[in-house]
């Protein structure tokens, strides 16, 4: 049976959280378009928070970081709480 080929690192998609510079918050839509042009997929603009979320191929990460208006790009993490029958939650 042929092994499934390992994807090239550059093409692996990462979920990211993009924090906007304060001065660019009012233009969040414009920043979102620039991020999409630079490779951000499923861009979602959170206006009140000044954050844009989406996913990007690993190879395009550096390009995303240098888009005008971006203060930080961080990998999105997750949280997990205890199951319903746990005494400590």
């Amino acid at each position: 049976m042929a092994a499934k080929s390992i994807p090239k690192k550059a093409s692996v998609q990462i979920d990211v959280v993009v924090t906007l510079e304060d001065v660019h918050r009012d233009n969040i839509e414009a920043v979102a378009r620039r991020l999409e042009a630079a490779g951000l997929n499923a861009a979602k603009a959170l206006k009140s928070a000044g954050i844009i979320t989406g996913s990007v191929a690993h190879g395009k990460l550096e390009g995303i970081k240098s888009v005008e208006g971006v203060r930080a790009v961080e990998a999105a993490g997750g949280v997990q709480i205890a199951p319903p029958d746990a005494p400590v939650q």
Partner: protein, 433 residues
């Protein structure tokens, strides 16, 4: 009683008195000063007369005073008997809130140069005394309070310990968001209560709670004043409930959905967001740190659980994880009914700026609502302490009109100081207005 006003104050006094006006009652207060102490307008300097340069205190009249209009306070040279008479009438409902003797302050003298070695030795000695005392306390089960709080037929212990049960405030008019597993929308204790809800879980349309955690937290923060069955367990019983389902029924959530939930709550002008969730990761993020500050600036206080990753009886103090470890998130520790730190309650051990625990809430054996048919459940966690703080924040928001950083301040300065260290309980146990 009149001359007792001076002897009651410790320390040096000048013989003059400081009079504090109720906000908006300057004219009435000045009228009262004239009536009781004979201080006419002619004898009162006003700071408004002096312009930006400020009052020239050298011009203080011998019998009269100066009114600091920007802060609603006057300093007056009056007879102690008159001062005493006004102090008796002073209070919340009168034009004059207080009459107090003018004290004297001095510059603090500088400490002699302390070497680092001396300070280290002092710290190590204090640490070893504390460790030994904690061990002894753990063995002997020494109580933080003389008698522990306990659930009664009418109230949970947490509502008693935080004085929430005695508060006349209800969170009326205050929007409170709970970002969690949702709410059991058909729960009888919430029948007829307006609830705004939204799911941030991909593929899940409803914010209905299939886990229980979110229902429990909503119950603690916003549960009814008179539950149809059993004891009262909820704090802000008239708050406008906003449910953001950012955790799946399996209890997991991604940062994208959590941030979308925060964004939604800020956009809806919620005064408080309760987040009983976190990652077991000590690193802070620019995103949460920035969003927390933006929320405060927009009038939204975010309250988050410090975390349950400690096992103190085994010597593991845990750490405060993301997002509670952001300095702009108010992070909440858990105490038990004896007001001791819970075994699982995370301590600030990474000691980076802002990762500290800010405040504590009741978090052991907390009774609250649960999806049907169970209807109620008693569980523990910093997740349970957090909605106590959130509900009480809603009471303070209603009582004072404070929002954002100002609301943070109200919670902190009114906390009940506990014997446990700041790294464990922050400023202390949250107290209701």
């Amino acid at each position: 009683m009149n001359n007792d006003l001076i002897s009651q104050t410790a320390g040096e006094t000048t013989g003059r008195f400081i009079v504090t006006y109720r906000e908006g009652a300057h004219a009435e207060a000045l009228a009262a000063l004239k009536k009781h102490a004979g201080v006419t307008k002619a004898k009162m300097m006003a700071s408004a007369d002096f312009g930006p340069g400020g009052v020239d205190m050298a011009q203080f009249p011998d019998a009269g005073g100066v009114s600091f209009d920007h802060i609603g306070v006057a300093v007056v040279a009056i007879d102690p008997t008159a001062a005493g008479a006004m102090a008796q009438d002073a209070g919340e409902d009168s034009a004059i809130l207080a009459v107090e003797p003018e004290g004297v302050m001095y510059a603090l003298s500088e400490l002699p140069a302390l070497t680092l070695d001396y300070l280290r030795g002092f710290r190590d000695a204090a640490d070893s005394i504390y460790t030994a005392a904690s061990r002894r306390e753990g063995e002997a089960g020494g109580a933080e309070v003389a008698a522990a709080f306990a659930d009664t037929a009418a109230l949970t212990w947490g509502l008693q310990a935080t004085k929430a049960a005695m508060s006349r405030f209800s969170g009326s008019g205050i929007k409170l968001a709970i970002l969690d597993t949702g709410l059991a929308l058909a729960h009888p204790d919430f029948a007829g209560r307006p609830v705004v809800s939204k799911s941030f879980i991909a593929g899940v349309a409803s914010a209905n709670d299939g886990h229980g955690h979110g229902t429990h937290c909503t119950g603690t923060s916003c549960g009814p004043l008179k539950p149809p069955v059993g004891r009262r367990y909820g704090i802000a019983h008239k708050a406008l409930i906003h449910i953001g389902k950012v955790l799946s029924d399996q209890g997991s959530g991604a940062d994208g959905g959590i941030l979308a939930g925060i964004d939604w709550a800020i956009g809806n002008k919620c005064a408080v967001i309760s987040m009983s969730l976190g990652a077991n990761a000590p690193a802070t993020t620019v995103a949460y740190e920035t969003v927390g500050q933006r929320a405060l600036n927009a009038g939204t206080l975010i309250v988050a659980a410090a975390g349950n990753n400690a096992n103190r009886s085994a010597g593991n103090f845990g750490f405060v994880g993301r997002p509670a470890n952001s300095r702009s998130f108010m992070s909440v520790a858990a105490v038990d009914a004896s007001l001791r730190v819970a075994n699982f309650s995370a301590r600030d051990t990474t000691q980076q700026a802002g990762t500290a625990v800010d405040i504590a809430g009741p978090g052991v054996a907390v009774y609250s609502s649960w999806p049907m048919p169970a209807r109620y459940n008693t569980i523990s966690g910093t997740s349970m302490a957090t909605p106590h703080v959130a509900g009480i924040a809603a009471l303070w928001a209603e009582a004072t009109g404070a929002r954002g950083a100002a609301l943070w301040q109200r919670l902190i300065v009114n906390a009940r100081v506990l014997g446990a260290p700041v790294v464990d309980v922050g400023r202390g146990l949250v107290q209701a207005p």
